[in-house]
């Protein structure tokens, strides 16, 4: 089925920069996001959220709220606990292979849909009010009276592990809710015997996705059919459906979840939130559709945060800069709950070795609860934290030995001729990590070339120093496991009209999936993309689906589409052969038809085949071929594919103000076979700019009492167009053999390297001051303190 080649001069769609099918409605202002939905008799929900970080809820009085104008209903967590049975465990399940291969201990605190006993972070909801308008509901929410016994809050993850710390989940008697470790070789011995050793602490701070569309859920219960529909700004419609069905005690067949147009997700819309379950519950309870749209202030205090890891690294190396041992002990501040379990932490472990040959390696993770917003995957999901630890270490090795950081990397990088390369530990799926294909050293050279070359830069840098200017160059290299299982589903059906319908479990949030999969289907079936009718993010369209997280959808859905189409084609050929009284082996797909190879007139349209396949009296199917022309296929990947990239950035540091300007930025990137280069570039640039935000601007800040100080976009600073330079892209293409199309994922990649590349670059710029920046974000004030060491006093400093 590898018919990507030309048929009578037709160019393939795979690989073409086809313009997007999604654009029209979005550009006309006719997109439909969950906030745009208007249903008859719809009521509006507002959640009442805790103003304190940690408290026992003594009582909640809704009397005044219920009496407020235009209020329909109000509910507290205390009451909800009486109305709903305990929610079954809704964490991502861990594959058996992983569980036997990796040492782990995981406790997972269940989150009540509305807090009833305690509130555990500022922003946790403990009541909900429904009214005729959002405005009226907010008025009423302000009248909810709660009696809290305020408890001391724990906000420092290291203090959270000490005796006497406030405990977030009393039943565990500890804040240490998970430990994982994995390794290869004999790290302890190799460290001890290494000619040189370095030890450092690295901190990757707390920030998050900040999609421009906040979350939102609309739900409508239909009493006639006893069924419920949920529209949610989510990346995982099937998971939401499953949880709603369990929560409401309804068959999945009566529960439909749709993600309409979604305004960005980047991972943090990739799991089931309490609101996804509460809003349908409320809709059924009050017998009216209910709409809840998160506002930005809410979003910052209840949609998941991410990153927030402290790494203590010990590395052993030799005088040539070769790494002999890498030991990493790290802590993740998971906040008050842990919706994705071990995912992020194990991702960090799995990606620590990066593109390097490390024979002795050991990583241990601790997951610690604190009174902050829960921590869940955001673009990169543990990989940026790994990259900070590893890539800063590379630069520290370089400065210890007086070597170019690029050279240290070259000496440690796995070469193209060593592929496939077994890293020595397993991935999240329990399979051994084997880098399938790639050329890391080539990516390094190309990235450096794309910023003007290293030697040329060093000359520029020296000349600039002569003029009192501080330029620096920094690298960030990573590998990225993409296309993870457990599976994805595709359903393909040929219509009597000849149009081909494809439904998949993926849930787009801007990636252009309607376009990508139309391209793939068009090549697979030799039709035009306009002949493809595609439905995604709708549980009615396919019974089982996984969703879009972890850079997986192009890989997994394309493979599912491939296999479903393969089987469907066989069936179509069998029927067409019957119609044309020829052999199946004589047939080919061409221009929306099935025809006899070499005989232009002998062909039938796909629509005719579909009509012939239909059940009924005068069907045209051969004996043994069942009715219908549809296939559903669930593809379970053997394991992940391995994308990679090198980021190179040149910074211009103003040591007077501390401002870091990005002078040049380049990404050399490999995601295997490219379906749509225009969309690939968009993903890389978008991810990179988010990474720049993480490296320089964004950050959540809590005070010692767990108050979130960054509660608005005036304080949580996202990069604007003026904050980023143009980004040069270099493409490498190493196909993989792990799926039929040879594609690798790429959605997250861009965000992985910028924070460490920028930190490395600023350290390079300020090398004369002995600068070491081992945490993110890199702040102007830190630069000033480094450059004016000890001189930053009240009399000020002049330059």
């Amino acid at each position: 089925m590898n018919e990507s080649a030309d048929i009578s001069g037709k160019k393939p769609f795979i690989g073409a920069a086809m313009l997007r099918r999604e654009d029209r409605r979005l550009l006309l202002g006719q997109g439909q996001y969950v906030g745009d939905l208007e249903l008859p008799r719809m009521a509006h929900a507002v959640f009442v959220r805790s103003p304190v970080a940690h408290a026992r809820i003594r009582s909640v009085d809704l009397t005044r709220a219920i009496a407020a104008p235009r209020v329909v209903y109000a509910l507290s967590g205390i009451e909800l606990a009486r109305l709903l049975p305990t929610i079954p465990d809704h964490q991502v399940s861990l594959p058996g292979k992983w569980r036997s291969a990796v040492k782990h201990q995981i406790l997972n605190p269940q989150q009540a849909l509305l807090a009833g006993d305690k509130v555990r972070h500022v922003g946790e909801a403990f009541a909900v009010v429904i009214a005729e308008s959002r405005y009226a509901a907010e008025d009423a929410a302000a009248l909810v009276e709660a009696d809290f016994e305020v408890l001391p809050a724990v906000v420092d993850p290291e203090r959270a592990l000490k005796a006497g710390s406030p405990i977030v989940h009393d039943q565990f008697k500890t804040n240490l809710i998970a430990e994982l470790s994995a390794g290869k070789g004999d790290c302890e011995k190799a460290l001890r015997t290494a000619p040189r050793r370095l030890q450092r602490r690295f901190y990757h701070h707390r920030y998050a996705a900040l999609p421009i569309e906040c979350r939102g859920v609309v739900s409508e219960y239909d009493a006639r059919t006893q069924s419920i529909t949920i529209w949610s700004s989510t990346q995982v419609v099937h998971w939401v459906r499953r949880e709603v069905a369990a929560t409401l005690g309804m068959p999945e067949a009566r529960v439909r979840c749709i993600a309409p147009d979604v305004g960005g997700g980047f991972g943090i819309k990739g799991h089931v939130y309490p609101e996804d379950l509460l809003v349908p519950f409320l809709a059924r309870k009050i017998g009216r559709p209910v709409k809840w749209i998160e506002d930005r202030h809410e979003h910052l205090m209840c949609s998941c945060h991410s990153r927030d890891q402290i790494h203590d690294v010990a590395v052993g190396f030799d005088d040539d800069g070769r790494i002999l041992a890498f030991h990493d002990r790290f802590l993740t501040d998971i906040g008050a709950f842990n919706p994705i379990g071990s995912g992020v932490m194990y991702n960090t472990i799995a990606h620590l070795a990066g593109p390097y040959r490390i024979d002795n390696f050991f990583a241990e993770a601790k997951v610690v609860t604190t009174n902050k917003v829960p921590n869940a995957p955001y673009r990169g999901a543990g990989r940026p934290e790994a990259a900070l630890a590893t890539e800063r270490t590379m630069d520290l090795i370089a400065s210890t030995l007086g070597m170019e950081p690029a050279e240290v990397r070259r000496r440690n990088m796995i070469r193209a001729d060593e592929m496939p390369y077994n890293v020595g530990i397993v991935y999240r799926d329990g399979e051994p990590i084997v880098y399938d294909s790639g050329d890391y050293p080539a990516a390094l050279e190309k990235a450096l070339g794309a910023v003007g070359g290293l030697d040329a830069f060093r000359q520029r840098q020296a000349a600039a120093r002569g003029q009192g200017r501080y330029l620096g160059i920094g690298l960030g290299c990573y590998t990225e496991g993409t296309g993870a299982g457990p599976f994805e589903g595709a359903r393909v059906r040929i219509e009597p009209s000849g149009k081909i319908y494809v439904a998949g479990g993926s849930c787009p949030q801007g990636q252009g999936m309607e376009t990508i999969f139309s391209q793939i289907m068009a090549d697979t079936w030799q039709v035009d993309p306009d002949d493809i009718v595609i439905t995604l993010a709708d549980t009615s369209a396919i019974p089982i689906g996984f969703g879009t997280v972890a850079s997986r959808s192009t890989v997994t859905l394309s493979a599912a589409i491939h296999h479903a189409s393969e089987r469907l084609r066989e069936k179509a050929f069998a029927i067409a052969a019957n119609m044309m009284e020829c052999g199946i082996q004589d047939l080919e797909l061409r221009h929306g038809k099935v025809g006899v190879i070499g005989v232009p007139n002998m062909e039938v349209t796909l629509g005719a085949v579909a009509r012939a396949a239909a059940p009924g009296w005068d069907h045209r199917r051969p004996v043994g071929v069942e009715a219908g022309l549809e296939e559903t296929y669930y593809w379970e990947p053997p394991t992940v594919t391995w994308s990679y990239a090198v980021h190179a950035v040149i910074v211009d540091v103003d040591i007077g103000t501390g401002a870091v300007k990005l002078d040049r930025y380049a990404v050399a990137h490999d995601c295997g076979v490219v379906i749509n280069p225009m969309l690939v570039e968009g993903q890389i640039i978008g991810g990179t700019v988010q990474g720049v935000g993480g490296g320089l601007l964004e950050g959540f800040v809590y005070d010692s009492e767990g108050q979130l100080l960054t509660g608005s976009l005036m304080d949580y600073l996202a990069p604007t167009a003026s904050d980023v330079p143009d980004i040069a892209l270099v493409h490498l293409q190493s196909p993989t053999s792990l799926n039929p199309l040879g594609v690798k994922g790429l959605g997250e990649g861009g965000a992985i390297a910028p924070p460490v590349a920028i930190a490395n670059a600023v350290c390079d710029a300020l090398a004369a001051f002995g600068a070491e920046l081992n945490s993110t974000p890199v702040l102007p004030e830190q630069v000033v303190r480094i450059a004016h060491q000890g001189v930053l006093r009240s009399s000020g400093v002049v330059s």
Binding site: L697, V784, S795
Partner: protein, 286 residues
């Protein structure tokens, strides 16, 4: 979030607005540009009993120049100042400052009167009023009074204006054609409020600095004049040493706060850096 309820009034004159302010005894707010007011109301950080919308009052937005004085109606939008040929010709420093205010969509609604009355410590226009030694006209129940820049600002978002007064006009003395001026601002992103900003205006007689005026934003509860720095500069020939000394004095004089975005020490340091840079730029004019 959505604002809480309020009574809404659209007076036809400033006098009527004053009467309404009196009626509500401090519980009403004036709506001018609304670019700072509405966000605060959306957060329900403030919940006024009434909004008095000044946008329907005619003849309070004008820009006129006469006798070395720019008179600007209090409801004049930042945008109008930005694109005004009179401002470009007569007070280009103002146009330069305005372009630092947020982004064009904000400048299309925000007003000079609103900005001065709000007196955000990190805003550019209060700093302009200080450095130009301008004045404002406030209308109250007992008529109009003139308030000098040095008397207007009293603290963080606190002015000398009474609860029942509304600004009607802003008066900005223009600069002599030979004056050197510069604004140096440091913000985290383009268009953000200043972490620190210094504006300088210097007038020379020959090579000697005859008069120096320096004002700040972002480094204290309100914009102040850097009088200690001015004293160093006046009478000097604006040599590098004088500039460096002035910058050190400037850093010493300010009383910055520590907040989420910057520490007091860092703001103090920036004051020195930006003062020196502004002075060097102003010196290089003419």
């Amino acid at each position: 979030m959505k604002p809480a309820k309020f009574d809404y009034h659209t007076p036809a004159t400033l006098e009527a607005a004053v009467a309404l302010l009196q009626q509500y005894k401090g519980e009403a707010r004036l709506l001018a540009g609304g670019q700072s007011l509405l966000p605060m109301m959306n957060f329900r950080l403030i919940t006024p009993a009434a909004l008095i919308d000044l946008n329907r009052v005619p003849n309070v937005d004008y820009i006129s120049f006469d006798n070395a004085l720019l008179r600007v109606g209090a409801m004049t939008r930042h945008r109008a100042l930005e694109f005004s040929p009179i401002v470009a010709q007569r007070l280009p420093l103002l146009a330069e400052a305005i372009r630092l205010v947020a982004h064009l969509p904000i400048r299309s609604r925000g007003t000079i009167g609103g900005s001065l009355a709000l007196a955000d410590p990190a805003a550019e226009l209060p700093m302009l009023l200080q450095v130009l030694e301008g004045e404002v006209v406030a209308l109250g129940p007992n008529g109009a009074r003139v308030i000098q820049a040095g008397d207007l600002f009293e603290g963080i978002m606190t002015t000398n204006l009474a609860a029942d007064e509304v600004l009607s006009e802003v008066r900005l003395p223009t600069l002599s054609p030979h004056a050197g001026f510069a604004i140096e601002e440091y913000a985290r992103r383009r268009g953000d409020f200043a972490i620190a900003a210094v504006t300088v205006v210097i007038e020379r007689a020959g090579a000697q600095c005859r008069k120096a005026r320096l004002a700040t934003a972002g480094v204290g509860p309100m914009s102040i004049r850097l009088t200690a720095a001015e004293a160093v500069l006046e009478g000097s020939r604006l040599e590098d040493e004088a500039i460096d000394e002035a910058a050190a004095k400037a850093a010493d004089q300010v009383s910055p706060q520590t907040d989420l975005h910057a520490t007091a020490d860092y703001r103090r340091h920036l004051t020195g850096i930006l003062t020196a840079r502004a002075l060097r730029r102003a010196r290089s004019m003419h």
